[in-house]
Each structure stands twice: as C-alpha cells, then as structure tokens.
Amino acid sequence: MIESTVIMIVIALGMLALTRSRADDSAQRGISLGWQTLKSTLPVLILAFAIVGYVKVLAPQDMVQSWIGPDSGLRGVLIGTIAGMLLPGGPYVVFPLVAALYHSGAGLGPTLAMITSWSALALLTVSFELPFMGWRFSILRLSLGLFAPLIVGLIGWLFIAG
C-alpha cells in the first residue's frame, strides 16, 4: 500500500516535470483538469466508499464466497461477467466496490471477469455507443467483446488462482 502510494506520487511528479518542461501551459491545464475531475467526482467517490464500508460491516462473506468465491468456478466467472455489465458509473465507483468484494472473499477469476466485463460491456456505455455507431456495429462488437471477461476470468481461475 505504501509502496503503491510512493510509486503513484513518483509518476505524478515525473509527469509534472515532463509537462512543465514544455513551452505551453500543459502543466497548469493538467493540474486544473485533474482538480476539476476530482471536484466533480467527489460526491460519487464519498458515496462509493460509504457503500464499501457497509459491504465490509455487513460482511456477506458467505454469500460472496458461494456466488463468486475462489471455488465458484465457471459459474462464478459467468456471475462476475453479468455483474460487471450491470455495474453503473466510472472507475471511481466501480473499482472500490470490486475491491471490497475481492476482500470479502471473491475469487480472482470472477473478480477479473467483473472488471473486464464492466470495461468492455457495461450497458450504460453501450447506450453511448448506439447513437454514434448504430445497433448493428454494437451487436457485432459485443458478440466479440463477450469473450473478453470469459477468457480473462477463466485464465484467472484456472491458471493464476488455482
């Protein structure tokens, strides 16, 4: 945890130095973009962590274990895939929730399937795709994309987590 924090801060400082070395106003713009993103996502972030807190306190560990635990196998990967499609919101909401489930006993395969499925198949995102790409493109892309969480989940379950 502390190592991760240090790595992230080092990357931030490195990028700050890189943008400051440019002749334009990249550094100021980058800082203000980051700040604006933070401000606009703060309410959602706080709510997400309130939910994370309750998930921990209520500790539905038996349920998490039996549905998407390390021994849930292919069924767990499928449940993770469907859950990922339904997860609402951006990374600030989804990642803390997935982390809380993982720490409450979700297996690696279902967890990876959930993240990948949210990334590639989230239904809220598809609603942005339709007006720009048309339903036929969406169906073709989703039919391929459906393999992503399944492949990733199965690899996580069979080869990494055991």
């Binding site: 991760s4 980058g30 973009l33 959602v44 998930v55 951006g90 990876l112 992503a148």
Partner: protein, 182 residues
Amino acid sequence: MGIVMERWMPDRTTLFLIAVALILAGLAWLQGGLSAVVDGLSSGANELLRVTPMLLAAFLVAGLTQTLVSREIIEHWLGSRAGWRGILLACLGGALIPGGPYVYYPIAGALLGSGAGMGVLVAFISAKNLWSITRLPYEFALLGPRLTLIRYAVTFLLPPVFGFVAEAVFGSKIDSIREAMR
C-alpha cells in the same frame, strides 16, 4: 477543449448510489442498530482516507495525461490507415485517448464516417476499454497493484486480436453500417 474525464451520467449514477447506500445502511440498522450504521460509515471513511494520498496523485496523473494526448492527434493518426498497421495504431490510439464514452464514441463515429474499417474501429474501442492509460492510475490506486497488473497482462493481446478477428469475420459489413449511419 473542455474534456471532463471518465464521468458516466453523474445524475443517474449518484441517485443509484444514494439508494444503494441507504438500503445497506437500513440492513446494517436491522442487524445491529445505530452502532452498525455508524460502523459502516466509519469503515468506509477509513478506507477512503487510506487511499486519499494515492487518489490525489492519480487525479493529477490523469489530468496531466490529458494535456499530452489530444483528440486531434488521435484522429489525425487513425484517419486514413488500414490493414494490420491501422489496427495496431488504433490499439495505441485507444489506449492513449483520455475521457469517458462521450469522448471516444464521437471520435469513433467520426472515424466511421471518414471511412475507417471494422477492424480499426473494434480495435480502437477495445483498446480504450482494456488498455486505457488514463484509467490505469485509478485502477492501481483503488484495486491495488496485483489485480491491476494481472488484469492488464491477461487482457494484453485482446484488443489487436479482436481487431483482426472483426476485420476478418465482419469486415465486409462495415460499408452497410456506414451507410445506415449517414
């Protein structure tokens, strides 16, 4: 250029999250009364405080990345390329493009309109979904390095593979899709 990052329909999301938080707080109340309600909130607050330094750095990294990669650069790169090079470049462009779906879908739509192939479009969107550089700091900060590294490693080959498969299997359909969107 007014890009606000990776924010999906804040109003609906916020309302949904408020509902979920309230339901969970209600369940906590039923299980353990007021002290369980407070426990949940303080556990969440502790968790948030724990990741705050990393999260602040992550927001800074994401903001700075956006200034280094602009929409114009990506569109210019991908505008007129095809074949396997087009697909690989589309993967790179998708990985680098900052912003949420309301940023990259208009770009993908513009690429479709200007003649991009099926493989290029699928590779671009898949790489944005699976390789996104601007999402990486949040994933790292909130999920931890282990899960993040495993997920990026396991999905590493997928965007180009999806691009090639889409081109080979559905490539001939792109003209009628383009026609329907005019």
